[in-house]
Structure formats: C-alpha cells, structure tokens
Subunit: 249 residues, 2 copies
C-alpha cells in the first residue's frame, strides 16, 4: 500500500524527497551497468528519501535488456529497503489494455504507484486504482501546458477527487513546482489527494511552493540533479534539507 509505506518512510527519514532513477545509459560514466549504477544510488540515499521514482522511458530505450534492468532495480529496492516505488509511466489506455498495464506494473513488476494520463478519462485510470495507487497528471512542469492542460485541469482535479471517494488513499495528482501561480488554488481544492511534484532541480521550480502543502501527502522528485552529481549522497542530503525546511517547519 503506497500511502502507508510513504508516510512511514517520510516520518522515519524526515524527507519528502523521492530520487528519480532516470538512469539514462548514455549519461552513465565509466563501465557501470544501469543496475550497478542504480544500486550505488540506492545505497547512498536510502536513509535520505521517502521513495524512488523510475521513469520507464530510459529503460525502454535499451529494449528487453532495459526492461530486465528495470525489473532488477525494482527488486533491489524491495529487497534492500522498505521504500515505495513509483513507476513514472504516464500510461493512459482503455479497459482491456489499461488492465494489462495495471497487471504489468502492480502484479509483475510489483511497484507501489504508477503515474497515469487522464486524457481518455476515467476508463483509463480506474483499472490502476483497482490494484494500487496512481498519480494522475494534472498540471505538469513543461512549457506547453497552454495546448491542453490549462484548459481542462480543473476538470481533471474534480475527476481525481471523485475517484478518491471510491478509492480512498489511492489517488494522487502530478503538479509541477514551476506552477507556483496555480498551487494554492489547487491545494485549496485538492482534499485528501496525494501530490507528486516534479520540476525542482534541473527544471528550476521554487521549493517555496511546499509551504502551501504542509500536512498533505507530498513527494518531490529530483532526478538528474542528484543521480548524475559528483557526490550523490551529499547532493541528496542537500535536497532533503531544502525541501524539509519548507515542508516540516
């Protein structure tokens, strides 16, 4: 159960930081394999974080060997820590197909939460909630949110809250830290939804947004800025502090 594992880790490690294992093989220095690279990061950071997020794209890039590295990485996290794993897959497909994805991720890979895309509506989300926790994309950290998101995100927020009633503690939203102007409004309307916040780190979002989110279930993801740092542990500790100062104080 994602929320319980997350809260336990957050309180134990005083951290809302999730490290993103976006271990792009093109950026790994030296002769380490992706799994060795991840193993090192997990060992260095397990007491500083409240979970790991894995973006599946960087594993699919290596085809079936990448998929195997993904499975091994999830196995490592589960065997060596009690931390939850969020699979950042941003999947969205219907009925039959969404059930196949949910099986792939919750049953086969054994992750605790998955990110999902709401474009196709609730049909594409419910099959995930039947098996576990899902973070629904709401207002993301990238530039082109004016194309679609800005026009519909209040509807997506309503949908998320409606789903949360049927699937309590299983529904979250993804809101970029770069969306400062919208965050209080979303926070006031978000009820018991959990939050996944990307955009701090390489993308330059402002950690001050966390002041609006005290007492909510929040994870903040930092990927590249930590995993490709010279000193991974030091960098992760810095981010933990930066976030904790806003969130816990």
């Amino acid at each position: 159960m994602f929320i319980k594992k997350y809260r336990k880790a957050r309180d134990k490690n005083s951290s809302i930081l999730v490290v993103g294992l976006d271990s792009d093989p093109g950026k790994i220095k030296g002769s380490k394999s992706v799994v060795e690279f991840n193993e090192h990061i997990i060992k260095e950071t397990a007491d500083l974080v409240c979970g790991y997020k894995i973006n599946i794209a960087f594993y699919e890039k290596l085809g079936w060997e990448g998929y195997m590295a993904l499975e091994e990485t999830i196995g490592l996290i589960k065997n060596e820590t009690n931390l939850p794993v969020i699979l950042d897959a941003k999947r969205g497909d219907i009925g039959n197909t969404a059930r196949a994805y949910a099986k792939a991720y919750f049953d086969r890979l054994g992750v605790d939460s998955v990110t999902v895309n709401p474009y196709m509506g609730r049909d594409a989300i419910i099959p995930f909630l039947e098996k576990g926790h899902a973070f629904i994309l709401l207002l993301t950290s990238n530039e082109s949110i004016g194309d679609v998101e800005l026009h519909v995100y209040p509807r997506v927020l309503e949908l998320a809250k409606e789903l949360e009633k049927s699937y309590p503690e299983r529904v979250g939203i993804v809101v970029g830290a770069t969306r400062k102007d919208h965050i209080s409004k979303i926070s006031n309307a978000s009820g018991d939804l959990s939050w996944l916040i990307p955009g701090i780190g390489a993308q330059g979002g402002d950690p001050e947004v966390l002041k609006e989110l005290k007492r909510r279930d929040v994870v903040v993801n930092v990927s590249r800025a930590i995993i490709f740092a010279e000193n991974v542990r030091k960098k992760a500790a810095e981010f933990r502090e930066l976030l904790a100062r806003q969130y816990f104080d």
Copy 2:
C-alpha cells in the same frame, strides 16, 4: 517512412485494414508462444492488410520476456513483409523523456509510427515527429470521453494541423469509429492529417463513417475480432471487404 509504406500496401492489397496484434497471452489457446501466435497471424493476413498495429501493454504484461517477444514480432513483420508497423503506446512525456521513448521505438524497435497522448502539449509530441510518424489521440472510442476529450479535442485538432505544417506527412489523429456524430466535422477540418480509426469489431463502431473519409490516408484497426477468431484469414478478409466497400467505392 510510414505514409509511403502505408499507401503502397493500401493500394497493392486494396485494404485499409490494420490488424492489431494485441496478443494477450491469457487468451492464446494451446501451447503457442506469443511470437508463434503472431507469426501465424502475419502469414495468414499479410496480403489482406495495409499494416499491423501492436499495443505494447499486452507485451509489458510479460515483463522483459514480453518485451523480447515484441522485438521478435516487429522483426518478423519487417523481414517477411513490406508492411508498416504502428506501435500503439499512447506515450506522452516531455523533452528528455519523450526523446528516450522516440529512440526506443523508432531507433531500437524500428517501428514506423507511434500513437501519442497530447495532454502535456506539443513538448510531448515533437520528439516523435523528429524521428517518424505519430498518431495523436483526438477523440477515442471509449465511454469516458466526457471527462476530458470532448472539452479540448478541437484544440488538439488545431495543434495537430499546426504540427503537420512543420512535419508534413508525419502527423495523424486517432478517432474512434464510435464517434459518428463528430466525424464529418473533424474530417472537414482535418486537412492532410492521416487517420487511425479503432472501434470497429469488438467495440461495435459503424463502418459507414468511412464514407466521409475517402481520399484521406486512413487505417482502421481491428484486433480481438480477428486474431482470436477460429479462422483468422477468413475473418480478416471479411473485415477488409467491409471496410473497402465504404472507403474505395
């Protein structure tokens, strides 16, 4: 190049049918592997179709072995036919990550087209268009389109047309055959976009919608109703005829 391969196959085989290799291992009878099952379908249908569509969810369900079966299936289609392959992945992620997906699918798997999700805007689409053809989800065949799609699909259509100007012959739209009331309107506004139409077959959409789409680049996907039929070749031939009567006459 997807469009050229598609047109050649369409004209040679007098077919706008694409068979969906949604080869759910739970539904394959007997002791055939997924790849053996697909090989049989490809042999039975290669002269009756204008391409194959593969929904990656059913392969991910088997983990890395499934991903390997996916790679082998694409290899079979490329080695034994000149037919284009559409990867139905419905991916949508930004910059860095979208580029990793585009690499995974166009460079590593070698498919000709990918379905993409427009929720995050053009940032999530352009990296695919830089490498090949993409079908953007517009108005899908499932029930819950009232949650998001109905409120924004005209904007997504404008976005698709705008992208088509910069990436000619590389941009398509996904419109469910169950959306009869919207199809003439979309067709009148769709310019040179190519169309991927699901929803005929198991989902009960009306083939008459194809009358509105003569002279456009159209593929109609049928999956379960063909691949799990008693006589695959006969069923595929029936669907080819059913579609051709509306489209070519």
